[in-house]
Symmetry: C2
Subunit: 250 residues, 2 copies
Amino acid sequence: MQMAMRRLVGVLGGMGPLATVDFMQKVIAATPATCDQDHVPLIVYSVPQIPDRVSAIVAGTDEPFQAILQGLRCLEQAGARLIAMPCNTAHAWYDRLAASTSVEMLHMADAVRQRVGGRQETIGLMATYGTVRAGFYQRYLTSVERTVLLPTADVQAVIGKAIAAVKVNDMSHARQHMVAAAEALLHAGADRLLLACTELPLAAASTAIQDRCLDATVCLAEACVAFSTRVQPHLSEEPDVWTSVGSRIS
Amino acid sequence: MQMAMRRLVGVLGGMGPLATVDFMQKVIAATPATCDQDHVPLIVYSVPQIPDRVSAIVAGTDEPFQAILQGLRCLEQAGARLIAMPCNTAHAWYDRLAASTSVEMLHMADAVRQRVGGRQETIGLMATYGTVRAGFYQRYLTSVERTVLLPTADVQAVIGKAIAAVKVNDMSHARQHMVAAAEALLHAGADRLLLACTELPLAAASTAIQDRCLDATVCLAEACVAFSTRVQPHLSEEPDVWTSVGSRIS
């Protein structure tokens, strides 16, 4: 009888679609598995038509909220036991989304906070302008006594170029902008760089600065795997879509 | 006003999880896009606890059917307008699945049939033993007058090893077995090799035989993109989850 206990994780994605795929790969990579059945069950809402998050934050409008909420409702209905949203910028709406559902919702910055070790360090924040302005990484990380170093306006513009290049799959320019911005932050005193935009790990891959980076997508993926695979003695007592899938495996 | 018309595609996946991710990447790669919003909206059911398909076919049991049907119901409820199943072997249950839903369901072998050109050729079938035994590729391809070359038992065993190696992420052995089996089929008279197991393109990537291969996953991805992005003059008359997402973009 196969009885791998796994809880269904809902992925509120499509922001952008490649970042969602990257997140799924990181969930797979973070899972101890010897066969398909060991892996984390996912229900993935990847609808890239959700309006642009950064421009909404900059314009002070609320356009993406309803579209993201629709995705959340879809994942609830599918029986997700935890919701993860592999888009840092969209966390500007996290509080309202979490308040509108009874399903547990992971916050990416909380996953990062749990991951950073005990040592004193200065973390350089590499994110969209929208994420920097929303301020949640500053709040979560300073709560565990990390110093957060924000990019200057010039460096922020270069980070924006790296992200835009990934979105059009121009990896050569993406890497070039990524390294330039990273070096500026390291020079300004950052001990580590937090890649807090789902596009940035793709730009940092196979570059010289990769070892200095902490990937928020990996932190979120690891938190999802921990949730899904944790031994849950009371699981059989709970109504759970996943339990009903599991019962067919026996 | 952004009004990219896109229909929601449901992905019946998790068989295995890496193959689902590979399929999603191929959908993205096959989509002409300049921004997130151009991409195909996907709802992805990636529940790898679906019982093993090959062993069920070999044992003559029906174990995976109910688990796959549960995934299909989930995608229906989420509003998918088309269902694609990026697992060749699971197509042994295609007829019953398609008969139990009113949503259009793509058949991978049909997507391949539409893709192969007009020339006479012999296609070497590289698939799981379950897929070969189920016989649907033979039926679909011979219907368009392709000669299908099946592997000998020895070569089939090597193909099985390549697939198993991908599933445990042992890419070095996967490539080695893949090339050995491919060369045997080419030597036996195949003009092209059909990679009709979602794990095999990962084993064929960056090998010398890659150019001789036709990837069934790519054929399925292209058919999904064509369906989702096709201009649909009557779309606004239909009740459609995707239309309601779209209306929020304007």
